[in-house]
């Protein structure tokens, strides 16, 4: 018996040594740690779906919650609404983001140096601010655009309706643009131009080349962004609540929130969430199937080349128009609305049109005097930078383990790493609270930091996965042949090539984390203010003008920080 155990241990040890020799042990180990941290709250949340007891009581395990979910007569209509909303906004956002990335990275569009950071500015604006701005623009009776059309163009009745599915898709679609842009920009920047040059030599026009060569090669990164935006849409709550509810449009995630906030039944809430998890897995299966022959999409090979812009002729004026329109509609107009709203006593169309005669600074004064605004901003700034760095690095390590080591079964990380995105934030926060409760981490900034890591890991992983498949294996293989270990390959080949996408992912996660409300609200501790919660509080209590003032201050700080980093310190954030 003892001999058998010793023999088995020897076999296992040999297996470990083999993995180590292959250079995969460390990344594999790191991935397992990250995966465990992610899977723990997810499993806790799922286990809660198997109890019908209200919080504070225990009645044993049961499948009753699932019976309630699957016999809910509104399940299918709500799911349908969610699918339309998520698919519509993800498509608009990713296509527009990708188009902007292509225009700015690969074409000779005029003035692009001035606007290269511009597609990113919308993510600096907290999501609720965007909703406020668009509601005030598109509301049927009180909206600025409808009133302008009626008053100055003699249009009869409202043209736009903020409270409709189309408006919901539009607003959330614009919020999806930066992610599409950030995911696709590195791909277009690291594109081997010889592929396009061959097409030109064969007589192809620039647009045809883009459609038949450039865009197809960006499919993995495009799908990565599309999948992420789609999953974000599925669990998005603010836009459906603010713009959908008044029109009677109910999305699936509102069932989760009702179960948590009306029923106080996390079991039922998590059972509803499981439907979202199942949908997410289906989407991920689709993604992995599409990108299974990753070598097809490899654009970065061992051959040297210089990236250069393509002369697209007269089309450059069209692309300039596209960029300018996005700049105007996606950024300038909503931002101006917010600025004016923050500077007037209250919003209605009449008062809005009197600006600047009725300008007041009281809202800014009040925000600056808010007891937790400055400390909250400092806390969120420090934590966001730290978490962004760790999350991005771990995302790359996990993607490296999946796509660059030859360890069996590592594709499971693809699912584990993306799972947090399938859960509505309140549900995920609940799982995280249970994980940290009883540990010394609970009620500290560390718990909040780890919570943010779990929440944003999917972005880091999807970003790294989408980019890593664009690097041809021949580069790694050349290093392996010369006896390099994983750390040499990782730090000297993979990481430097991934630099643009690393910068993009860091930037995205930093911005998302610094304005996070959903995870922060349950994990923040008494005495540790977190900046974005302050803004949300203004919104929650109905002080939109103060919320707008806070949003404007936040936005200006971030724009200055990003611009200084880019133009003064020459930090490559994305380009």
């Amino acid at each position: 018996m003892a001999k058998d155990i010793a023999a088995e241990a020897a076999v296992n040890w040999r297996w470990v040594k083999l993995i180590y020799k292959q250079g995969t042990l460390i990344p594999l180990f790191a991935s397992i740690i990250a995966g465990s941290l992610i899977i723990a709250p997810v499993l806790i949340v799922l286990s809660r779906s198997l109890t019908t007891a209200r919080l504070g009581t225990f009645v044993g395990l049961t499948g009753e919650n699932y019976v309630r979910v699957f016999t809910d007569p509104k399940l299918l209509p709500m799911l349908w609404n969610s699918l339309i909303y998520a698919a519509g906004s993800a498509t608009i956002g990713t296509v527009l983001g990708g188009l902007l990335a292509w225009i700015l990275a690969r074409t000779n569009t005029p003035g692009k140096a001035l606007v290269e950071l511009m597609p990113l500015y919308p993510i600096l604006m907290p999501p609720i601010m965007k909703n406020i701005a668009w509601i005030l623009l598109l509301a049927p009776k009180a909206g600025i655009l409808n009133n302008l059309l009626i008053e100055y163009f003699g249009v009869q009745g409202p043209v736009f309706n903020a409270f409709s599915m189309a408006a919901m898709i539009w607003v959330f679609g614009l919020a999806c643009v930066p992610l599409g842009y950030l995911f696709l920009l590195p791909v277009f920047l690291s594109f081997d131009p010889s592929l396009e040059e061959s097409a030109y030599i064969a007589g192809s026009k620039p647009i045809h080349t883009a459609l038949r060569i450039t865009f197809p090669l960006a499919i993995p990164a495009f799908l990565s962004a599309l999948v992420l935006n789609f999953l974000r849409g599925l669990r998005s709550f603010e836009t459906p609540v603010l713009q959908g509810s008044p029109a009677g449009i109910q999305v699936f995630v509102s069932r989760v929130y009702d179960a948590m906030s009306v029923d106080y039944n996390p079991g039922l809430g998590t059972a509803y969430s499981t439907v979202l998890v199942a949908l997410s897995i289906l989407v991920l299966l689709f993604y992995t199937r599409i990108t299974r022959f990753s070598e097809r999409y490899a654009t970065i090979t061992g051959k040297g080349y210089r990236v250069k812009a393509i002369d697209i002729g007269k089309w450059k004026y069209v692309t300039f128009l596209v960029v300018f329109s996005y700049f105007l509609v996606g950024i300038v107009i909503p931002f101006l609305v917010l600025i004016v709203v923050s500077l007037i006593p209250y919003y209605d169309f009449e008062t809005f049109m009197k600006f600047p005669a009725n300008m007041v600074l009281t809202n800014f004064y009040r925000v600056m005097r808010h007891p937790s605004f400055v400390t909250g901003l400092y806390n969120s700034l420090t934590l966001s930078v730290t978490i962004a760095v760790i999350t991005v690095l771990m995302g790359i390590v996990m993607a490296f383990t999946m796509y660059r080591t030859r360890t069996y079964g590592t594709k499971i990380f693809e699912f584990i790493g993306t799972l947090p995105l399938a859960f509505p934030p309140l549900v995920l926060s609940l799982g995280l609270v249970i994980v940290f409760l009883g540990t010394p981490l609970y009620n500290t900034l560390w718990a909040l930091g780890l919570g943010l890591f779990v929440a944003y890991f999917p972005y880091a992983l999807r970003n790294a996965s989408g980019s890593i498949v664009n690097i041809h294996r021949e580069l790694d293989e050349a290093a392996w042949v010369h006896g390099a270990r994983w750390r040499h390959v990782f730090f000297k080949i993979t990481l430097p090539i991934l630099k643009p996408s690393v910068a993009g992912a860091f930037f995205y996660i930093f911005i998302e984390a610094i304005r996070n409300i959903d995870v922060a609200v349950l994990l923040s501790a008494p005495g540790h203010e977190y900046g974005p919660v302050t803004l949300f509080e203004y919104f929650r209590v109905g002080q939109w003008a103060e919320a707008a003032a806070g949003g404007v201050i936040y936005l200006l700080i971030l724009i200055v920080a990003v611009s200084v980093a880019k133009f003064v310190f020459q930090v490559k954030l994305s380009l």
């Binding site: 504070g56 509301a139 409270f163 008044p246 106080y264 009449e350 249970i434 409760l437």
Partner: protein
Amino acid sequence: MKRNSKLNLKGDTDMAKRTSTASAVLVLSLVAFGGAALAASAEDDSFNKVSAGLYEKAKQEGSVIIYSVWDVEHLVKITEAFSKRFPGIKTSYWQGRNPEIVTRVVIEFQANNPSVDAILSDNAPPVIRAAGAIMPYETVQKNLLILHDPTMPVVSLQIQTLSYNTKKLKAADAPKTWEDVANAKYKGMVALDDPMRAGPLSSMLAGLKGLWKDDARWTKFVQGLKALNVPLHKSTSAMMRLLVAGEYAIGMPTLLHDTLEEKETGSPIDYAKTAPPIVFPRYAGIYAKAPHPNAAKLLTEWLISIEGQRTLDAVGRESSRKGFRSKASIDTAFPKGTRSIPVEDKLFLEDPKKWLDTNVKPIWGE
């Protein structure tokens, strides 16, 4: 002359009667006022007495941790005033929405975690109490409260009003009572809080059901609202903003302190003073495993005291104390003699979802 004398005599008698009546009224008023004053004074004495004892113990505990749904700006001012009054007790707070407070407190309770002392909120404490996570505590100032709960002191009130946009609707055309809103003539003008989300409209419906005790009348009212087929909001604050913006002419219900604040800033908002206010308690619940229970009790008693109520009034929160006149009190904001409608339904308070499923869902649907 005689006649005159008689008349005078009668007049004198009348005068004497009037004088004696007036005197009696005055005496009675003085007695009543004096009685109330004495009662208030007695309650103040009891506060002074209890606070002295609690303060000694609270100082040894050294701090008090609050979870609350209230604005951070308000919490800061309240805790600063408390710390100034009772030096040596450190205060800290965490702010969240009701579902988050319930989730957090009950999970902490299950994990035996001594994380919080006092929970200041409206909807959350009864649900937490139903889960066994509230330490029963009856305030010594109970006789002074408009609403009293023997296990959780009511330190403030949520007062609901029927507001309208003055640019969209003249005062004469505005609804005068809650029931008026269900009139078909207001179709297309009204926005409602979602009655199925356990928010202000559902608590209003619970209050009216308890007041009317007439199921047919109540059902007709809910059916009337449903027939309006108007926008439903899951956020009362968003509904209020759109009411101010002119998207809607009438919002039901809105909160008194919001309405008054809007009026102060010059927004085109007013409210129907003839619609009796619905009042919902804002509790200070003491956590069953509070690490600093005496500090929590002291905070609770102080919040109900005149000094505490003044602090609440200064940040715009409604008083829960009888006879305490402030800009957001029922006595000031409504005509004399207005009777408020309390929300006292036990099932609604402890399991709003069950109450909604039983009473509202059969009429409203989902």
